[in-house]
């Protein structure tokens, strides 16, 4: 069973022999023409999420980032054998090469925006009640959700304007299910990370009512979708 961490250019250095991934397994490279995958051989597929496994996954991706920005894989993908992985790489080869080109020399920075706690509407469905009460409750919930969506969009735009020219790409996630936060991520050239931080910092000082959490640099998880995926 091969567990997948990330996709890279085949021409670069392979993973260092001392590198360990999930479950302490060594990491190796499987190359198909110009692209390659960093993988570990595991006795069986991973079936549960733990913080340790997630950290180990990201640790390997970060090691790959030292030399060149990879396309990080979503946690939890494994392949029954190497030929299956090779076929998957071959089928998506052009998209992967384009994806690698897109993120070259860049990292992801993410701003989480905390939304007003007051925004969400009544969370609990009325235990017993008429259809009319239920419909009113439902409408109120929808109104609250729409309010949170609009607020999130407004705040995301403020951040986007503040970092303007530094963003090579942008990805937004709407208000979380609980309605209390949303994120905006940017693909930023490695050399612009300090400037990006500074601009977000300035925004937060200028507008203290915005409650922001900046994280990064990350591998470009939000910018790793392949065409046609």
């Amino acid at each position: 069973m091969l567990y997948l961490y990330c996709l890279v250019s085949a021409g670069r250095e392979p993973p260092p022999p001392s590198l360990r991934g999930v479950a302490g397994a060594p990491v190796r490279q499987v190359a198909v023409q110009t692209i390659a995958a960093w993988v570990s051989d595991l006795p069986s597929a991973i079936e549960a999420v733990t913080p340790e496994l997630v950290r180990a996954h990201d640790g390997v991706v970060r090691e790959a980032m030292r030399a060149e920005t990879p396309l990080p894989a979503r946690f939890g993908q494994s392949f029954p054998d190497e030929s299956t992985l090779r076929r998957a790489l071959e089928e998506r080869r052009e998209g992967i090469a384009r994806g690698l080109e897109r993120v070259r020399g860049a990292v992801e920075m993410t701003v989480r925006l905390l939304l007003d706690a007051a925004a969400p509407g009544p969370a609990e469905r009325p235990a017993v009640g008429s259809g009319r009460e239920y419909m009113a409750w439902l409408r109120e919930r929808q109104r609250a959700a729409e309010g949170a969506r609009q607020r999130a969009g407004f705040l995301q735009t403020r951040v986007a304007q503040a970092v303007g020219g530094l963003a090579r790409g942008e990805a937004r996630s709407g208000a979380s299910a609980s309605g209390n936060s949303a994120t905006i991520s940017h693909l930023v050239a490695c050399g612009d990370v300090t400037r990006y931080r500074h601009l977000v910092h300035e925004l937060s000082e200028r507008e203290p009512e915005l409650r922001l959490m900046l994280s990064g640099p990350w591998a470009p998880y939000s910018f790793a979708e392949l065409p046609g995926a």
Partner: protein, 79 residues
């Protein structure tokens, strides 16, 4: 102080889960993680973010001057 460190670590873990579980290349439809496990982690994350809201008064960690607190992640490029 240790409470602060724990607080930061949990925030970093929250963001890590948000990136690694939700995003990234999907080469195969065969993602083998039990959905229930992810939902459990997510539920914890969502609850935790709610508790961050309640931590107002901690000030800059969530708002202004210390936004970089979360930026210091292991393996940072150039470090």
């Amino acid at each position: 102080m240790s409470g602060d460190l724990e607080h930061d670590e949990r925030l970093v873990l929250s963001e890590l889960l948000n990136h690694v579980l939700d995003k990234g290349v999907v080469l195969t439809g065969d993602v083998t993680i039990a959905i229930g496990g992810i939902d459990l982690v997510r539920a914890g994350l969502s609850l935790y973010l709610s508790s961050v809201e309640a931590l107002e008064g901690r000030g800059p960690r969530v708002g202004g001057g210390e936004t970089d607190a979360l930026s210091v992640l292991p393996g940072e490029r150039g470090s």
